[in-house]
């Protein structure tokens, strides 16, 4: 087990190293001089040169790379061209907001997807099955931004929910829970959007996994043992059916750090996705570079998590 663990972690770290290298050079071969991002027509040539020196862009590429790696090791991701603040600070602020949103959305969509998927498979061929199937396909096929806008329109006009942001602008709060209540109100619609879109996918995966398992010989064995259908579902089908679903969920987790972009944009949620869009528009390369690194690392560690969860759920994977 520990051997397996070390091997997996080793590979993950190696991949991170590769990403660091790629990520650095990716932004150096992009068209345009990063210094030009500091737009101001009044700047003199000398001033621009000063900016280049300030961001370390005057040094040769290998030196820049070594400096980048050294700074990275110290947790320094550089300084934003636009905001003149450390990239790490900006990313961390927004990352928490993103994690709050997709954390809630992921937990809810997994629960909803598993329950619906298992119910559909268990009652296969009934109205429950068809309902879940059609609903999930529709949810999966619906564009996130469109669904978000419909919800936003409906929620803000009918339910009086806020139309965007994380907090009501200019509001002051008497206590922390009032503030959280406000956050909750702002979070409700984006979370629902995210949940429904992803729950559809998880429902379909779970349903087909459980149906596959029901055709296995050991389910016949379980029936022959006289177990009741609920026991068979709980003790023999669920854990086995979780295997393919765990993979999908874990992979999604990595991508949704970035994949929440649509939801964040529609609901003006101050998350990582929003930051990425803004930075692209402003050609704020240091922020983008940091964000890309963060996304890559989250995908790699979501993969690692999937591997480890898999080995916990499936004893056949444990032995190496």
């Amino acid at each position: 087990m520990s051997h397996y663990l070390f091997k997996k972690i080793g590979w993950a770290l190696l991949t991170v190293g590769f990403v660091v290298v790629l990520n650095f050079f990716l932004f150096r071969i992009l068209p345009g001089d990063p210094a030009r991002a500091v737009k101001d027509p009044r700047l003199t040539r000398q001033s621009i040169e000063a900016v280049r020196v300030r961001f370390g862009l005057d040094k040769p590429l290998p030196v820049q790379f070594l400096l980048y790696v050294r700074n990275l090791a110290q947790g320094d991701l550089g300084t934003s061209f636009h905001q003149q603040r450390p990239v790490a600070t900006i990313l961390v602020e927004n990352l928490w907001n993103t994690l709050l949103l997709i954390g809630a959305g992921t937990v809810l969509s997994i629960l909803l997807g598993i329950v619906l998927g298992v119910a559909a498979a268990w009652k296969s061929g009934t109205i429950i099955d068809y309902g879940a199937l059609i609903g999930s396909l529709a949810a999966w096929a619906t564009p996130t931004f469109w669904f978000g806008m419909i919800l936003l329109f409906w929620g803000s006009s009918q339910l009086g929910l806020p139309i965007g942001g994380k907090l009501t602008a200019g509001a002051s709060y008497d206590s922390w829970w009032e503030q959280w209540l406000d956050v909750g109100k702002h979070m409700l619609l984006p979370t629902v959007t995210y949940t429904i879109i992803y729950a559809g996918q998880y429902t379909l995966f779970m349903r087909s996994a459980v149906l596959d398992i029901f055709a296995e010989d050991y389910i016949l064995t379980a029936k022959a043992k006289g177990l009741h259908s609920f026991q068979i579902l709980r003790d023999h089908a669920l854990r086995n059916a979780m295997l393919p679903t765990v993979t999908v969920v874990a992979l999604n987790l990595g991508f949704t750090v970035a994949g929440a972009i649509e939801v964040e944009k529609v609901f003006s949620w101050p998350g990582l996705g929003q930051t990425i869009i803004d930075s692209v528009e402003r050609q704020d390369y240091p922020v983008l570079q940091g964000a890309f690194l963060l996304l890559a690392i989250s995908v790699i560690f979501a993969n690692l998590l999937a591997d480890l969860l898999y080995s916990y759920l499936d004893p056949r994977v444990r032995v190496t």
């Binding site: 010989d217 016949l220 022959a224 006289g226 177990l227 023999h236 086995n240 004893p315």
Partner: protein, 406 residues
């Protein structure tokens, strides 16, 4: 209960025939299947008659071999006995009398109580029949936990309970196992503990743990391997574990559906020996399904040869081997090597068993039969009685018949 049958098959050599008088209430009779017919229903197509009027009996301690090619209805027969046919399968006719009660009259809940406790099954591919993500021990413990611990002290309590009409009595009514006066708890695999927790009938993990160890020991597996997973076992061990699992609740009948098919010859021999030994020790009644006539000769008391969903020939093992009457039995025997005639040539039967949804009008074997004549193609032959315990469904034996069974 046997008054309806004439020429009821009698003495099986191993069973002490003095007990079994014709027409008498046969104490040793465990399973009495009569005229069992099963159809597979497919949408918009004629039903496939997978079994037609299959009748046989199984007594205590008897091992009945059921042989035939693939697609002859052997597995369908076994699954119908446990009422575990796939959704398309329907039992359209017949009776499955088990200890005097017709299993076909039970509701689903009562049937679930009979499964494994009274009729257990050894499946053919032990790799697939065991759940890959659960330990072998937990899977053996599972039916014990499911079917109460009543069976642990008394070898055949169900046997008696059934006759008193209390087969489904709850173990909670039996204060004996209330648990407080039992051994201190011992550590068991987490899954066993979990299983037990959900079955209020079981209050002592120690008993369950010990029972699993005993069962594994019985089939020659070291009990400390109980917490391993099926993939950590060899093919032979998995099959042994499967046998241990089948024995878990002291069933009245064990159905062994080609238990040695996937194993190499040495392991196959070990498994057969194990089955034979266990049968002697525990007085098991076994339905042994196989392709292999050699194996049948070795371990079985009686043989039922099936072809295309009907009984071709049914008798004790000596009769089948020494004077087979049905051409199909004869052809099958020719396809197996015989040590007494090492130079005789092995032959195969040309063709395939019939499609069950397009059966021939006459005898189902007629299209492949070397002896077929005009009548064989017109109407299916009835099952002729050729002696006290010998039946064959072939017009060729008409003259020697003793009676016709409907």
């Amino acid at each position: 209960m046997l008054s309806g049958l004439i020429n009821y098959p009698t003495v099986l050599t191993t069973l002490g025939g003095d007990k079994m008088n014709e027409n008498a209430d046969d104490d040793a009779l465990i399973l009495d299947v009569r005229n069992l017919s099963v159809d597979y229903i497919a949408h918009g197509r004629p039903p496939a008659h997978a079994l037609e009027k299959v009748s046989f009996q199984l007594r205590k301690g008897e091992m009945l071999g059921i042989v035939g090619e693939s697609g002859c209805g052997k597995t369908t027969l076994m699954l119908s006995l446990m009422r575990l046919l796939p959704a398309a399968g329907r039992i359209v006719n017949g009776e499955i009398n088990f200890l005097g009660a017709d299993l076909l009259n039970l509701n689903e809940k009562a049937m679930a109580d009979v499964r494994w406790k009274n009729i257990a099954m050894i499946f053919q591919g032990a790799m697939n029949a065991l759940n890959p993500v659960r330990t072998v021990g937990s899977q053996i413990a599972e039916p014990i936990a499911r079917h109460t611990m009543n069976t642990l002290n008394d070898l055949h309590p169900i046997h008696n309970a059934n006759r008193n009409g209390k087969a489904t009595q709850s173990p909670n009514g039996n204060g004996h196992y209330a648990g407080k006066n039992l051994n201190p708890l011992r550590t068991v695999g987490s899954q066993i503990a979990e299983t037990i927790k959900h079955h209020e009938a079981i209050s002592d993990k120690g008993i369950l743990d010990r029972r699993v160890a005993e069962l594994l020991d019985l089939v020659g597996i070291s009990p400390n391997r109980r917490d391993q997973y099926p993939h950590q076992y060899s093919g032979g061990m998995r099959q042994r574990a499967m046998i241990a699992m089948a024995l878990a609740c002291f069933p009245d009948v064990i159905i062994a559906d080609e238990p040695t098919t996937a194993l190499d010859v040495m392991v196959q021999a070990q498994i057969l020996e194990l089955l034979a030994t266990l049968r002697q020790q525990l007085g098991l009644s076994v339905l042994f399904v196989t392709h292999d006539l050699g194996v049948v000769a070795e371990v079985c008391d009686s043989v039922m040869v099936m072809y295309g969903g009907v009984v071709a020939e049914y008798s004790d093992v000596d009769t089948i081997y020494n004077s087979p009457q049905h051409p199909y039995t004869q052809e099958l025997l020719k396809a197996f090597p015989d040590v007494a005639h090492p130079h005789s040539k092995l032959t195969s039967i040309p063709g395939y068993p019939p499609r069950l949804d397009a059966l021939p009008a006459g005898c189902r074997f007629a299209p492949r039969c070397p002896c077929a004549f005009a009548r064989c193609h017109q109407a299916p032959p009835p099952l002729y009685h050729l002696g006290k315990f010998h039946e064959a469904s072939c017009y060729l034996v008409e003259k020697t018949k003793v009676g016709i069974q409907e």
